[in-house]
């Protein structure tokens, strides 16, 4: 509440909120580099690992930025995993259709991205309609759309995988085509999204209104904010961004299965929250979401780097989320609902 009111301090506040996770991320990356060299790895292997990491980070951070918008207004979207799977399946089928009708290259890519974003946007609009205009609680609505989406998806595909995705789709995401050998194209895309939405949240009136609604819904309403429309907008944008994340997945993966997004919503929400976004809304931002996503991906990688067996991976992720949230709460006490 106070955060969103103190508009002149937005930069210093942004820095302070997200400082913890950025420091934690740097420490983890440093420890991974040290562990890599002490185990006798070469610099070339390290570069390859970081390209993989950046690639894996790209779709997660795009989706986490979308979730940030929803959590900022005090909502939550737990249907992002299903949304991602549906949009990826649709765009995968579109890619196959484009290949069959001879539309390769840029035109095909445009079709794939357009269909994925459109599909995600549609899903987001459904969520936004119920939460915004009917004022139903987000957790229940998205729980419902999660069930509906999951059921319809399996009925449609029959649980079959989308395979044999064309080469022109995979080529841009190929680690070999990474910019300067270290920055893969999906990662650059994620960076661009982060910059655009970072500026949107800092400067655009409708971006600032998201903070107003999340900080104090009633006050925002009295100040003339159209709360229903803002809520709708946040869910719709979240859906569209998840669609974009799905397009990145389609580009990166050789096949799309019906379990692609299972559990994805939890990782997305976790990234957002350990990046310092208040789960009750009104405070947070894009930098934290990206840093949180990077931290979780790096943590997963580090489990292998430190030589821990992969069956413990989930326990480590869960433990890390708890530690991050606990540190955050105990150092700032900002989760208290006023």
């Amino acid at each position: 509440m106070t955060e969103s009111a103190a508009a002149p301090n937005r930069f210093s506040l942004t820095a302070r909120r997200e400082l913890g996770i950025v420091l934690a991320l740097l420490c983890l990356l440093g420890a991974m580099i040290v562990a890599h060299f002490t185990r006798g790895g070469s610099a070339e292997q390290l570069r390859e690992q970081f390209v993989t990491l950046a690639n894996q980070l790209s779709h997660l951070s795009i989706a986490a930025i979308g979730e940030t918008l929803v959590i900022l207004i005090g909502g939550i979207d737990i249907s992002v995993g299903v949304n991602l799977t549906i949009a990826a399946t649709v765009s995968g089928k579109v890619a196959l259709w484009a290949e069959a009708s001879g539309l390769g290259g840029p035109a095909g890519l445009l079709l794939v991205f357009g269909s994925a974003i459109g599909c995600g946007l549609l899903f987001g609009c459904v969520n936004g309609f119920f939460t915004g205009f009917l004022r139903l609680p987000g957790i229940v609505v998205t729980l419902g759309t999660l069930s509906i989406g999951r059921g319809l998806l399996i009925i449609w595909t029959g649980g079959k995988w989308v395979t044999d995705l064309p080469d022109w789709l995979q080529a841009p995401a190929n680690p070999g085509s990474a910019l300067g050998g270290v920055l893969p194209i999906p990662f650059l895309l994620a960076l661009a999204v982060a910059v655009v939405f970072g500026l949107y949240l800092l400067y655009a009136p409708s971006g600032r209104r998201l903070y107003a609604v999340g900080g104090n819904r009633r006050a925002a309403e009295l100040a003339g904010v159209h709360v229903a429309w803002q809520t709708f907008q946040a869910y719709a944008l979240c859906g569209a961004l998840v669609g974009l994340a799905a397009a990145v997945c389609t580009m990166r993966l050789s096949s799309i299965d019906a379990n692609l997004g299972t559990g994805f919503e939890l990782v997305v929400i976790a990234s957002t929250v350990i990046g310092g976004t208040n789960i009750f809304g009104g405070a947070g931002g894009v930098v934290g979401a990206v840093a949180g996503a990077a931290f979780l991906v790096a943590l997963q990688k580090s489990i292998f780097a430190f030589g821990i067996h992969s069956t413990w991976e989930k326990a480590f992720t869960g433990g890390a989320i708890l530690v991050a949230v606990a540190l955050d709460v105990w150092t700032s006490r900002r989760f208290r609902r006023s």
């Binding site: 009917l134 004022r135 609680p137 939890l266 989930k314 989320i321 949230v325 208290r336």
Partner: protein
């Protein structure tokens, strides 16, 4: 308040009767003893967890980790049995693990002042990860015969599941008539007010999370005993199903409003819907779709339809004072 709950529950009950009636007309096998007892046995673990979830949601919290607690408790039972422990001590160990998990959540939420949704989100992954880590992701089966007694035998002609479910349902008396039960409602309605009124909010909230941990472990025992094998990913999606049942039962997701009766009706509605679709030969996925549609429809009706206005128009009266009721309708 009481009358509104009655009206909501009546709506659910009518829905349930209509659904059951339609199913019976379509397929008389629906009301056969075997089918009903199957429905009961399959849904008791869910019902136990949904009852616990009602308490949690009444306090204004949420528990996403119930499915993982079930999985971890089941794995604990399986590992204890494989290590040659007696059936009784293995089951007690399973219950102990569930209560430990519940107190872990409860401590972080009350003493640690962390938001329930985040604590249980992390705990969901942590407990599931521990289950995978300790078992190495491998199935366990071939337990001694006594281990399957609980899940496959009957008492007074009815399966043990029924008696367990009934015993836990008796918590509605606790919720309604004990200091602790009223405190659960009070802190969900307004936590600061409850604290200022001198209620031991932290202790009472801790007990709620302990209770749901215990109930999840009990559900794990019933399930493991019936199926006779254990997997680390047991109970996945159970948290979402339990929340669905509670919300179907008319509880407010923001706390302070809801009953165990409502939740029981919610579980029954979901169970009958799924069983009916099974009998009609509808594929599993359409059941998932129907569950989601039902959830959104019921919450829209509960939140956006004023029951007092509806009953007034229909000329139904419950001897209530309209002025008090109108102010409670949000």
């Amino acid at each position: 308040m009481k009358e509104i709950t009655l009206e909501r529950n009546l709506f659910l009950f009518v829905l349930l009767v209509l659904l059951a009636g339609a199913l019976y007309l379509n397929n008389p096998r629906f009301l056969s003893g075997i089918n009903l007892s199957n429905v009961l046995i399959h849904n008791t673990p869910l019902a136990l967890i949904a009852f616990g979830m009602t308490f949690v949601i009444l306090t204004g919290g949420i528990d996403l980790s119930v499915g993982s607690i079930l999985g971890l408790s089941a794995c604990a039972v399986g590992m204890a049995l494989e290590a040659g422990w007696s059936v009784t001590s293995s089951f007690l160990a399973g219950l102990g693990v569930g209560m430990l998990c519940g107190s872990f959540n409860g401590l972080l939420i009350t003493a640690g002042r962390m938001p329930p949704i985040l604590v249980t989100l992390g705990a969901m992954m942590l407990f599931r990860g521990l289950a995978f880590g300790f078992t190495g992701g491998e199935d366990m089966s071939g337990f001694p015969a006594e281990a399957s007694l609980l899940g496959n035998s009957r008492f007074l002609g009815l399966p043990w599941h029924f008696w367990m479910g009934l015993a836990v349902f008796a918590l509605c008396v606790v919720l309604r008539h004990t200091v602790w039960g009223r405190s659960v409602y009070a802190m969900g309605g307004n936590e600061t007010a409850a604290r200022l009124a001198g209620m031991a909010v932290d202790r009472d909230k801790f007990l709620v999370y302990l209770l749901i941990g215990w109930l999840s472990a009990l559900a794990a025992l019933l399930y493991t005993s019936r199926v006779g094998s254990v997997r680390a990913n047991e109970g996945e999606w159970l948290e979402l199903q339990a929340i669905t049942c509670v919300v179907l039962g008319g509880a407010s997701i923001f706390g302070g409003r809801g009953t165990l009766w409502g939740t029981a009706l919610g579980v029954a509605l979901l169970a009958v819907l799924q069983n009916g679709m099974n009998l009609l030969g509808v594929v599993q996925e359409w059941q998932t779709v129907a569950t989601g549609l039902l959830l959104i429809a019921v919450i829209a009706i509960n939140e956006r339809v004023s029951w007092s206005a509806v009953t007034k128009r229909l000329g139904l009266r419950w001897g209530r004072r309209p002025d008090v009721l109108e102010s409670r309708e949000r």
